[in-house]
């Protein structure tokens, strides 16, 4: 029996990991494999979706469609084909351009133990930020163009006429895809899986090159961080970052940090945090280094390291 591949794409912070977590709950009676692709040098999303009985591989350090780690992705797909699973979910990193997915499966097919069936790609779009980033980042066009289902998420944060503009843009890029409009990724997962289809347009070379990689910075600490100082620090960074995420050990307990542009969420995390690790994906290039070092003053001085 073949293994069904469902891919999740979308820019950082659109809600891919939330969607994946919910889908894993929905499919808990199935045998599931997951490949999580993170942009930074460490994987944060893997920790968020970790659960018993799931075969998981984490691929950090860039897009799985970029030459830098494409071979690791291919090898992971080959290795996963030997596992006892029915579904393989692939969460691509925020700037992944999945247009070469069909070719990749063709290339590896002689080497896979069981055959893969590419069910299709679900693209999650942040209704609030999509139009702003769409002009800037060509990968977002490709994510939409090569998807079978598009979820327009976080619509509770935006006005009706902006939703209409987003929908018009999405339909002009991909008239075939089924579009769901929602918040918190609340959708009928079985239904969208049934409506999912592999891309109808011909595959292409992925636009992911090493050049299209924004700068990432990892902040780490073995010490407990003063909560309020830490929160202020993250809030100060957020306007200049595409995404900030990670786990921290603070004086108010362990927290999960998730920031998308100006929306900063710092919530309690009830599992252990061995070491504070925060990934910052810069929207201002290398200048983020100076913004970070400028913020690591006062009570955070010497506690959080780059």
């Amino acid at each position: 029996m073949s293994i069904n591949i469902i891919m999740l794409t979308g820019f950082w912070g659109t809600g891919k990991t939330t969607l994946l977590s919910a889908m894993l709950d929905e499919y808990k009676d199935e045998k599931i494999g997951v490949i999580v692709n993170d942009f930074g040098q460490v994987c944060i999303d893997g920790t968020l979706i970790e659960r018993d009985g799931i075969t998981m591989r984490e691929l950090p350090n860039g897009s799985i469609f970029c030459a830098c780690i494409k071979d690791t992705f291919l090898n992971s797909l080959i290795a996963m084909s030997d596992k006892d699973i029915n579904y393989l979910f692939i969460e691509a990193s925020g700037l992944a351009d999945p247009s070469s997915m069909s070719q990749i499966l063709k290339v590896i097919s002689p080497k896979t133990i069981r055959e893969y069936n590419y069910v299709g790609s679900i693209c999650v779009v942040d209704g609030e930020t999509f139009l702003g980033y769409y002009d800037l980042l060509p990968a977002l066009h490709q994510q939409v163009a090569y998807s079978g289902v598009i979820i327009v998420n976080k619509v509770d944060l935006i006005e009706e006429d902006l939703i209409t503009k987003v929908l018009n843009t999405l339909t002009s890029i991909n008239p075939q895809a089924a579009i769901y409009v929602t918040s918190y990724c609340r959708v009928d997962f079985r239904e969208i899986t049934e409506r999912l289809s592999a891309p109808k347009i011909p595959g292409a070379e992925s636009s992911n090159t090493v050049e299209s990689r924004p700068k990432t910075f990892i902040l780490s600490s073995n010490e407990q961080l003063p909560y309020f100082g830490f929160v202020n620090f993250i809030q100060d960074l957020s306007p200049n970052a595409y995404r900030i995420k990670g786990f921290a050990d603070t004086t108010e307990g362990n927290v999960y940090v998730s920031s998308v542009k100006n929306h900063v969420s710092i919530s309690p995390w009830d599992r252990p945090v061995k070491e504070t690790k925060i990934i910052v994906i810069s929207a201002v290039g290398i200048r983020m280094m100076s913004i970070i070092t400028g913020g690591l003053k006062g009570e955070l001085s010497g506690k959080l390291k780059i």
Binding site: C68, V210, G285, M289, S290, T293, G302
Partner: protein, 450 residues
């Protein structure tokens, strides 16, 4: 202790004496009769030479390795090795391909000569690190970018600023990584050496380079280590832009008027290092010339936020006695003053013929350089002419002069040139410390063709 003098000076604290930091790069090898190539590739010979520098020159601080090609070599540039100079870059991997290298190519602790350098740093630290401040030198992001892209980078700065910005950002990431390794190996100061910064306008520095430099200096500071920004060439106009990138110190060569530069660095509370003339004084002068150079600095420049150093990497054949004279003058200025009382500098009086340019058959392009192999700005300036030579050879010839050859020094003086490198066309200075684009250069030469 000497080390404290350097650390205090770079922390802008009051010092009892002005610190002395000789840049004995390849010259360190001369002290133990090793070639430049040997000290830059053999860790044992390097450490042995560095300990000799520490013994003979009584430095308060000193660099471990002065070679701006270490990072470029790892990133795919071919090097041409020399016996009395650091190697020079012979090929530019991005010359024909306008791309950004993969982050996966950023050097690791195992790349190229890094393991040898880290080992030499640790051993030197253990032997003399208590008494002497040790400098880890890294190639600055702009010079590294030009090593990768070649002279095309100057045209890119005009036509594709975004590409230059991205390439410099990548090179800044390399600088940050190398700094991390050198800091772990015990370096007290990280010097970001970027000779080419003097070749572009402050406007271009701020538009394309400053973010990268600031990131490197801010990173170094976050590790509680001190930083310096070294430049060569006439960086008078660029010093303010350099200060704004936030280093603890700036170091300049003899092309810069130290007194005027100090007015700028003092405004930013940044320490200024410099600028004993490398060739006219250290390489070719007498001991008295060298003492006088030091005393002139000490008598004319305020002593706070000041470090006395050669203008840049010392020439391999710098007479040991000249450097000793510098050290003596820094450490015992009163004695040096007495020795100089009846001394006047000897001025070379060599006969040189300046051609009658109007009677030449072809246009004459003359390149007046400090050293076309060792000074990166000079190399790029010479290459800018070599690169177009095929296109102009029917109408023009070119000549390269080197400021370490007595006749060439005399010629440079007779031409009235005060800053190097300079390109003259038929005797008229056309580009001083600025590298022209291919189009500009050809157009200017054609104007003079008969």
């Amino acid at each position: 202790m000497g080390k404290d003098l350097v650390l205090k000076a770079l922390r802008h604290q009051e010092v009892e004496d002005v610190p002395w930091v000789p840049f004995a790069g390849v010259h360190a090898g001369k002290l133990k009769s090793y070639t430049a190539e040997e000290v830059l590739r053999d860790g044992d010979k390097l450490v042995e030479s560095l300990l000799e520098v520490n013994k003979i020159y009584m430095p308060d601080g000193m660099p471990i390795l002065f070679d701006l090609q270490v990072e470029a070599e790892i990133l795919g540039c071919e090097l041409l090795w020399a016996q009395e100079n650091p190697p020079s870059v012979r090929s530019h991997p991005l010359a024909e391909e306008k791309s950004i290298p993969c982050r996966c190519s950023i050097p690791t602790k195992e790349s190229g000569r890094i393991p040898i350098i880290l080992d030499a740093m640790r051993r030197t630290k253990k032997a003399i690190g208590d008494q002497t401040a040790l400098y880890g030198l890294i190639c600055g992001p702009f010079t590294l970018a030009s090593h990768l892209r070649g002279t095309n980078i100057f045209m890119d700065m005009v036509q594709d600023a975004q590409y230059v910005k991205e390439l410099v950002e990548f090179c800044s990431e390399v600088c940050i990584k190398i700094s991390e390794y050198y800091i772990e190996a015990g370096m007290d100061v990280i010097a970001v050496v970027d000779p080419l910064v003097s070749q572009v306008s402050p406007k271009h520095i701020e538009a394309m380079l400053s973010d990268g430099f600031s990131a490197v200096f801010d990173y170094i500071r976050s590790k509680n280590v001190l930083s310096c920004f070294f430049v060569c060439g006439n960086a008078t106009r660029q010093i303010e832009a350099m200060c704004k990138t936030n280093p603890d110190g700036v170091s300049v060569d003899e092309n810069v008027n130290l007194l005027k530069a100090k007015e700028v660095t003092d405004r930013y509370d940044i320490t200024l290092g410099g600028n004993i003339p490398l060739t006219t004084t250290m390489l070719l002068g007498t001991q008295q010339d060298n003492m006088k150079a030091v005393i002139d600095i000490l008598d004319n420049i305020s002593h706070n936020n000041l470090i006395i150093s050669p203008g840049c990497d010392m020439p391999y054949n710098t007479p040991i006695e000249n450097t000793v004279a510098v050290a003596q003058a820094v450490k015992n200025p009163e004695d040096a003053r007495k020795m100089l009382e009846n001394y006047t500098a000897i001025i070379d009086d060599i006969e040189v013929d300046i051609p009658d340019y109007s009677k030449l058959d072809k246009v004459l392009v003359e390149l007046f350089t400090l050293d076309p192999e060792q000074c990166a700005a000079c190399t790029y300036m010479v290459n800018s002419v070599k690169d177009i030579y095929d296109e102009i050879k029917d109408i023009a010839d070119y000549k390269v002069y080197k400021y370490y050859i007595r006749e060439d020094i005399a010629r440079t003086r007779k031409m009235g040139l005060t800053n190097l490198p300079t390109i003259c066309i038929n005797g008229e200075p056309k580009w001083v410390s600025i590298i022209p684009s291919k189009e500009e250069l050809i157009a200017e030469i054609k104007k003079y063709a008969k």
